[in-house]
Symmetry: C2
Subunit: 345 residues, 2 copies
């Protein structure tokens, strides 16, 4: 990247596509044809295809005052890969469509693709197509990810059975706390533009918000251990919402134990600084892109010691409902809470 600014109009849409194409390398053996024809072509195999799409819109999903474009590009790919991970699949290709106004220079688009390409490299996937269009207002990024099942098996949301153990990867609530830190810095900066942002101290939660990493590492570990979860979902909207989705799809109830929720120390402290209950962040914060899954009791021993897999509850019969056992051993109903009601906690 340089500091110069090239207007998109000077190279045109086809010029921009050519530029994006030169930044792109095709490495996945199953990609037969990438960018440049009417459609891309992908090699068939015995495995079924998995496909998912997510759209990110400026002003709704990201704020470019604190979201660097390479991070945004990385995040757009990572959150899609997370959907394939949540099916126990292997991601292979992405298509990225972007809508952008003339506020964006060619260099800005290259910065966005720098992040997209970094994520493609990290997850061994190819950018094989998409669209580049003019938008009257903000930036829009629409990603479709393609993947493949592993050993003919996909893990859906609907296979959890009573007595299965509920597992979650990584830690929860960090992304939401990172967002609070960034929003506070933005407000302080707009009040006093000479101020330097104080983000070093909050690096972990900020990174969770800006550059989440899909948990393909955990999926690969589960495969290695020959553990096929009975149900799985990724955490984009918060643990409570996802646990309820999984329970509903499986026709069961969930029993969550607050004392087992994995919350990073810095995230915990920062939540306290913001006077927000850390458990509320874990339950309702969202954007953690961790995996929530259920395993049979028999598989527990195989992953008991895994440092990044946490056992946060059990599946129970549907008629026992969806409940949360608090640290004080109170039995609370598990509910999705809109952020409008956040102040009532």
């Amino acid at each position: 990247m340089t500091d110069s600014r090239t207007e998109i109009g000077t190279i045109g849409e086809f010029g921009l596509i050519e530029r994006i194409k030169t930044l792109t390398t095709v490495t996945n053996k199953n990609t037969l044809l990438g960018i440049g024809d009417d459609a891309a072509e992908i090699l068939s195999s015995k495995e079924n295809m998995l496909v998912s799409a997510d759209m990110l819109v400026e002003g709704t999903h990201f704020d470019l005052t604190y979201m660097p474009l390479p991070h945004l590009g990385y995040k757009a790919i990572s959150i899609n890969v997370s959907d394939i991970a949540a099916m126990y699949g292997t991601p292979e290709q992405v298509l990225v469509s972007i809508g952008l106004s003339n506020r964006f220079s060619v260099e800005a688009i290259e910065a966005l693709y720098e992040g997209i390409n970094a994520a493609c490299k990290d997850f061994s996937i190819d950018l094989i197509g998409g669209d580049t269009v003019s938008s009257p207002s903000g930036l829009i990024i629409s990603v479709t990810v393609l993947g493949r099942t592993f050993n003919g098996t996909s893990v859906r949301r609907n296979g959890a059975k009573p007595n299965d153990i509920l597992c979650v990867t990584g830690d929860l609530g960090g992304s939401f706390i990172g967002l609070q830190v960034l929003e506070r810095e933005k407000q302080e900066f707009s009040a006093n533009p000479d101020m330097q942002p104080q983000l070093e101290k909050y690096q972990y939660p900020v990174q969770r918000q800006l550059r989440p990493v899909a948990r393909m590492d955990v999926v690969n570990k589960l495969r290695e251990l020959k553990i096929v979860p009975t149900a799985m979902i990724d955490i984009s909207d918060g643990l409570a919402s996802e646990a309820l989705h999984l329970a509903k799809a499986s026709g069961v109830g969930v029993r969550l134990m607050e004392e087992n929720f994995p919350i990073d120390n810095l995230v915990f402290e920062t939540a306290m600084e913001f006077k927000i209950d850390p458990t509320t962040c874990a339950l309702h914060g969202g954007e953690d892109y961790e995996l929530l899954f259920t395993i049979k009791q028999d598989d527990f021993k195989k992953i008991e010691k895994h440092p990044d897999i946490h056992f946060i509850g059990y599946i129970q019969p549907e008629n026992e409902g969806n409940i949360l056992i608090s640290k004080q051993k109170n039995v609370l109903p598990l509910e999705v809470r809109g952020w409008a009601h956040f102040d009532n906690t």
Copy 2:
């Protein structure tokens, strides 16, 4: 549809997704899992997968003052199917992501999906996923289409050889003329809101603009006749632009004959009414979504009499350039013309 207005906020994002899901039926035998999990799942076969994406943005690609939402939904699917048709493929599934502001009611979204579903039915494809997000400003529709090769063969842009015959389906320039009619009506209406739109007379070009139909019928006919084009592309940006893409990818030149360009009578007359050269509409108008393809001379006899396939030129060696033979037998260079220069014709 009813005249009532339900705010999206009253049913929420999940409510909206549920509503969309109930409007959707899965009929393609290769769709194993549609909307409702982290990803959709598609059955593997011996055929390779084809995939393409297009994004439509309000204010850039459509104007809701004259574009009815069901037509917009239909068009969004049809133009994506056209990309699979241009690969000689069979479309099977689509993912549709929409970004929308609270200007849109639940009923408006249902009207959009009415068109999406009508197109899915017409092309025997399933809506299997996507995303529904809030957008601060206009409507955004991002579609990804998945398809499959036919008999292990995809037709790309790069296979044309000298002496191949250049064919085009349907007729050209209609969509551009339809747009001119709609823009004129919009201006007259804004000058005099009591005026009734006068569109009956222009039904054909207006329909070409509002509700284009991907030419799967022609692809199916070619398959039936065992004709595999040597190269193919769909006409989204105008004949000149697409012919040059095909020539460049194939490393050849094209020789177009104006006298053979298929232009509908009403389109011709309306172009004259607008004082626009009909040939210019065919060459540079775009959005016709017809197919441009090349065949070997040996295949000519098989489709010579097809009423909807027209023979508009030849492939020649690259060093003979890309040329247009005018009706007056003048030899002109074939160039892409931006609409900024349109007045100079």
